[in-house]
């Protein structure tokens, strides 16, 4: 699509002028190529880096006889996960030696009014404390660095004596998503202590008889 230069004809004897070239360059092919490259880079770029959720498991081979801190019965909250994204929970310990005293499983789900509501009620004190601390940072009442704030929250969690100790137990029909979701709920509700453990045979039996 170069420009057509119309040469003047008919003049005779005039000085021979050097052909006038247009100073314009046809940029269309260049633009084509650039479009192509931009599209390529736009499509192959991974902008959002994947996020990770860190979970630390208790060491496996801790000898039983180590003087472990006794967990108060009423603080133990057991969450059982099973097929169909169902959640069951009970408080206390299911002791196979006392079949008459087996706790009743309560059915709930992953929705806002499900397990989260219950966790929030249970963890009210600690949650309020942490949420107030965060609010104060947002509104500018307390001005501290991020790491200081993280440490402060960590300390609050460590010092907490009232909140539930959550034991997460998933049976073989649970999906990976269920586990991630429940650990996520722990983070949302600021639960201080939780662990992922294997369900006991008693609990599996309880799950079978649980309300559908």
């Amino acid at each position: 699509m170069g420009e057509i230069i119309v040469e003047e004809k008919g003049k005779k004897g005039g000085k021979r002028k050097a052909k006038k070239h247009s100073t314009r360059i046809d940029m269309t092919p260049m633009v084509d190529l650039m479009c192509l490259l931009i599209t390529f880079f736009m499509l192959t770029t991974a902008f959002s880096k994947p996020k990770v959720m860190v979970i630390t498991m208790p060491e496996k081979d801790t000898p039983e006889d180590k003087n472990r801190p006794e967990i108060p019965k009423n603080r133990t909250l057991n969450i059982l996960l099973t097929e169909g994204h169902k959640v069951y929970y009970y408080i206390g310990i299911a002791d196979p030696k006392k079949p008459a005293e087996l706790p009743q499983l309560i059915k709930t789900d992953f929705s806002k009014d499900g397990i989260r509501k219950f966790l929030l009620i249970k963890n009210k004190d600690l949650f309020t404390k942490i949420a107030e601390y965060r609010d104060n940072r947002v509104t500018g009442k307390t001005e501290v660095a991020d790491t200081t704030a993280d440490n402060a929250i960590k300390k609050m969690k460590k010092d907490d004596q009232k909140g539930p100790i959550v034991l997460i137990k998933a049976d073989e029909n649970a999906k990976y998503k269920d586990m991630v979701d429940i650990i996520d709920e722990m983070a949302i509700c600021n639960i201080a202590s939780y662990a992922v453990v294997d369900p006991s045979p008693t609990e599996l039996e309880m799950l079978k008889n649980a309300p559908k």
């Binding site: 633009v31 630390t56 009620i121 990976y176 983070a187 949302i188």
Partner: protein
């Protein structure tokens, strides 16, 4: 009266600003780009509120897809002269009495996640048609008789001492499949896992506490 002719305009548009803009965009994309890594199987991660970013280097990733197939990946480390992948493959070759040529080692160090019994690894490295490559990705054996993944993890831990472990599982993976991998990792003294998730913000405040 002759009609007034509008002055003849050149049909050309000045493309310079457009080219300017395009060059700018192109430069931007070229400099910021980090290519999406090739993955053996499509894996849709579950979502969480975690905002911690996955580290770029010194990370070994175990992929678990919907059907429970397991893939493994480790990076070459921040310093490119460390050649972690090459060293790892050499160690694994010794373990399983296989030999890899230097060319194969080099090729392997530039590739990404893989998942097949180690005897098929050579074929996977040397495959001609990239389309055939995915067919070979049948998953790393994890059963107790021939637990190759355990060896990969063990050797990777020995090769790159600072490597963290990430687990990238599909949301629909069975929990038992993930549990198996976690148990295996714990046997190899890995107690801290990074579960790869999507960010899904969820805000709750004091008002949400039920009365």
């Amino acid at each position: 009266m002759p009609k007034i002719k509008p002055p003849a305009r050149s049909p050309h548009i000045d493309m310079t600003p457009m080219v300017d803009l395009f060059s700018l965009l192109l430069t931007f994309f070229m400099l910021t780009t980090s290519f999406r890594p090739q993955e053996a199987a499509p894996i849709e991660t579950p979502s969480s509120v975690s905002e911690k970013q996955a580290p770029d280097n010194d990370i070994m990733t175990i992929f678990i897809d919907k059907d429970g197939r397991v893939f493994f990946n480790i990076d070459n480390g921040k310093d490119t002269s460390t050649h972690f992948r090459e060293k790892l493959l050499q160690k694994m070759a010794e373990q399983y009495k296989l030999t890899f040529t230097p060319k194969e080692l080099d090729k392997f160090s530039k590739m990404s996640s893989f998942g097949m019994p180690i005897k098929n690894l050579k074929a996977w490295i040397n495959v001609k048609d990239p389309k055939d490559r995915d067919k070979l990705q049948e998953g790393i054996p994890t059963d107790s008789t021939d637990n190759q993944l355990a060896w990969w993890v063990r050797m990777a831990r020995l090769t790159n001492l600072g490597a963290e472990v990430a687990i990238k599982g599909d949301a629909d993976t069975k929990y038992t499949d993930v549990k198996k991998i976690m148990d295996l990792l714990q046997e190899n003294k890995v107690n801290k896992f990074n579960l790869v998730t999507n960010l899904l913000r969820e805000e709750i405040s004091l008002k949400d506490i039920p009365k």
